[in-house]
């Protein structure tokens, strides 16, 4: 009441200085807060978000850190990040596959529990989840790559023969064995982490990583010529010169002329009779017959 008697401009000046001071203080504090908040966006490599989690940026805008997903996880897979550890943003849910992987519940209770949509209810089939992507990070120590038949990651995979396949590769060390290489197919991999959990090595050779770390991305303008050709049913560029392709089999004469070879005839090499390749060459020099 006493202030009413004072000249008005004093009040205004005081208001302005007070406001300026507050604004400056808030700018400093706000910058610090923004820095910390942005730091929190860097999800560490070994922390995998629950199924249906929005991508990390959107997730941090949506997750209130209430832990309801953690409570409804029947396998105690999910935990809330603690403050100050080398984990994801404080209080947000994640799991470490090597500790407890996601068991891929059919009803996805964690997603149902989320009140805000940080875990997207659009995910209704757990097999569509993309929590992360398994990567065979260490071929040098992977038992299968050493030529042994461990196969554990392949066999425990809930998406066996889709997310992980065993592809046969020639074993150059022994010269006559096969390597049953575990190959991850990222489109089918849910990132549940069971392969990482079950890897028999003391430190797993296969690890689940956040998708952004695990995957590359093709250039937007890239087109795969053979797919385009199949889609078109004709060469993509008319009149292009197609050079002969070398086909499997012994000798140097198994070349296929432009236009390719007749399918089915390649099987059973080398007993395929000469001339079976449509448009095949007839080489001048012939290797001596191999007798078996």
């Amino acid at each position: 009441m006493a202030t009413a008697a004072k000249p008005k401009h004093i009040d205004r000046r005081r208001f302005m200085t007070d406001s300026a001071r507050m604004a400056a203080g808030c700018a400093v504090a706000g910058s610090l807060l923004a820095y910390v908040a942005r730091e929190a966006k860097a999800l560490p490599d070994q922390a995998i978000r629950p199924p249906g989690a929005l991508d990390e940026d959107a997730f941090l805008a949506a997750c209130v850190r209430c832990g309801l997903c953690v409570r409804d996880c029947p396998y105690d897979t999910l935990v809330l990040a603690d403050l100050g550890q080398d984990g994801p943003a404080t209080g947000t849910p994640y799991f470490t596959a090597r500790d407890v992987p996601c068991e891929m519940c059919d009803d996805i209770p964690c997603v149902l529990a989320c009140p805000t949509g940080a875990l997207d209810k659009g995910l209704t089939d757990i097999e569509d989840a993309q929590m992360g992507t398994a990567v065979l990070v260490d071929q040098e120590n992977c038992l299968n790559y050493l030529g042994l038949r461990c196969d554990v990651c392949y066999r425990v995979c809930p998406m066996i023969d889709e997310a992980i396949t065993l592809d046969l590769i020639h074993n150059a060390r022994s010269g006559h064995h096969a390597i049953f290489a575990p190959i991850v197919h990222a489109d089918a991999c849910t990132g549940c982490g069971i392969c990482e959990k079950k890897c028999v090595l003391p430190e797993p050779a296969i690890k689940v990583l956040p998708v952004r770390l695990a995957r590359g991305a093709p250039g937007e303008h890239y087109r795969l010529g053979w797919e385009e050709k199949d889609a078109k049913g004709a060469p993509v560029v008319e009149g292009i010169i197609d050079l002969p392709d070398r086909l499997p089999g012994p000798g140097t004469d198994n070349l296929a002329a432009p236009g390719g070879y007749i399918e089915g005839l390649v099987d059973g090499l080398p007993s395929t009779p000469e001339g079976a390749f449509e448009g095949g060459f007839d080489p001048v020099f012939k290797l001596p017959e191999v007798t078996r």
Partner: protein, 307 residues
């Protein structure tokens, strides 16, 4: 207050003598019970496997039916660019309506797990007779609240949750405490050494938000018997937001005795420490002033002279 030469009685000494220990600590005890009760609700699950309430103060689900969500966090979420699902919206709305009715800052004094920490810091502050230290304006918290929304919008995150000791401590207690103790210690030390009643009274944007929520709340404290006031100043000493008292207590006859400032946390400590029983809980439409019970008891009161 501790002017040399004067007897420095502990706050509430008179009330203690008149009303006894429980009478002089009634609302303090009730508040501690309330704080423990709300914490216990959340701890029943992890401790005893009774999952009546799941989650924490940021968001919870009671009896798998009643969602409750912190509206401040939802506000930041919207500022950050995410529209919450219906469950969270309903949960946030319920919380908003309840606190809008009973007083926003009832959250601060009856529920918030940081309140015992800052109360403890203030108790020790008093014992050690420390300086009050840095006292930013009471309005600072509103600036901070605005900053929090701004930063949320700019970074696309629920910004305050990165540092919010309130939800952090509650989450720590319910989901397992790790480094969160450091946060408790930081708030305690801040209130003890840096700024007396600093966190809850000057800084915390959660309190500022709930102040705004409870601007028009029904449940209010009124200085009903302000004419009995003997100017002992105990209510000012005990009140965490003592700027709210004067307008009601020292107001002229035509000024409402209701403490209408949204800063009031409805903690009831003024009722506790008043030997004259000046204050009581009532609703915001109850503006009556009772006649002094003993008109001769303090005829010197400047209040009445002015009136």
């Amino acid at each position: 207050m501790s002017t040399k030469g004067k007897v420095h009685l502990p706050v509430g000494q008179e009330a203690l003598e008149v009303k006894g220990w429980f009478g002089a600590h009634k609302y303090l005890v009730l508040r501690r019970i309330s704080q423990a009760f709300f914490l216990f609700l959340f701890l029943m699950g992890p401790w005893f496997g009774i999952w009546w309430v799941k989650g924490n103060l940021a968001g919870s689900m009671t009896f798998n039916f009643l969602p409750l969500n912190d509206p401040l966090i939802l506000g930041q979420m919207m500022a950050a660019g995410h529209w919450p699902e219906t469950t969270a919206l309903i949960g946030g709305l319920i919380v908003l309506v309840v606190y809008a009715l009973i007083g926003g800052r009832v959250y601060c004094s009856w529920v918030c797990p940081i309140n015992p920490v800052t109360d403890g810091a203030h108790w020790l502050h008093d014992k050690l007779n420390l300086q009050k230290g840095w006292q930013p304006k009471r309005s600072a918290r509103y600036w901070i609240l605005a900053t929090v929304f701004l930063v949320s919008a700019l970074t696309g995150t629920i910004a305050w949750e990165v540092v919010n000791p309130v939800t952090m401590v509650h989450r720590g207690l319910v989901f397992g405490m790790g480094f969160v103790w450091a946060m408790v210690a930081a708030v305690f030390v801040f209130d003890l050494i840096v700024a007396r009643r600093g966190w809850c009274g000057h800084v915390c944007p959660v309190g500022a938000f709930y102040s705004l929520v409870g601007t028009k709340s029904l449940l209010r404290i009124s200085a009903v018997k302000r004419d009995d006031c003997d100017d002992c100043m105990d209510c000012y000493a005990v009140c965490p937001e003592n700027q709210v008292i004067s307008p009601a207590l020292k107001g002229k006859a035509d000024v409402t005795p209701l403490i209408l400032s949204p800063d009031c946390t409805n903690c009831g400590r003024c009722i506790d420490v008043c030997a004259m029983d000046v204050f009581r809980f009532t609703h915001r439409f109850d503006a009556r002033v009772e006649a002094p019970s003993d008109a001769v008891s303090n005829p010197e009161s400047p209040n009445r002279n002015a009136a």
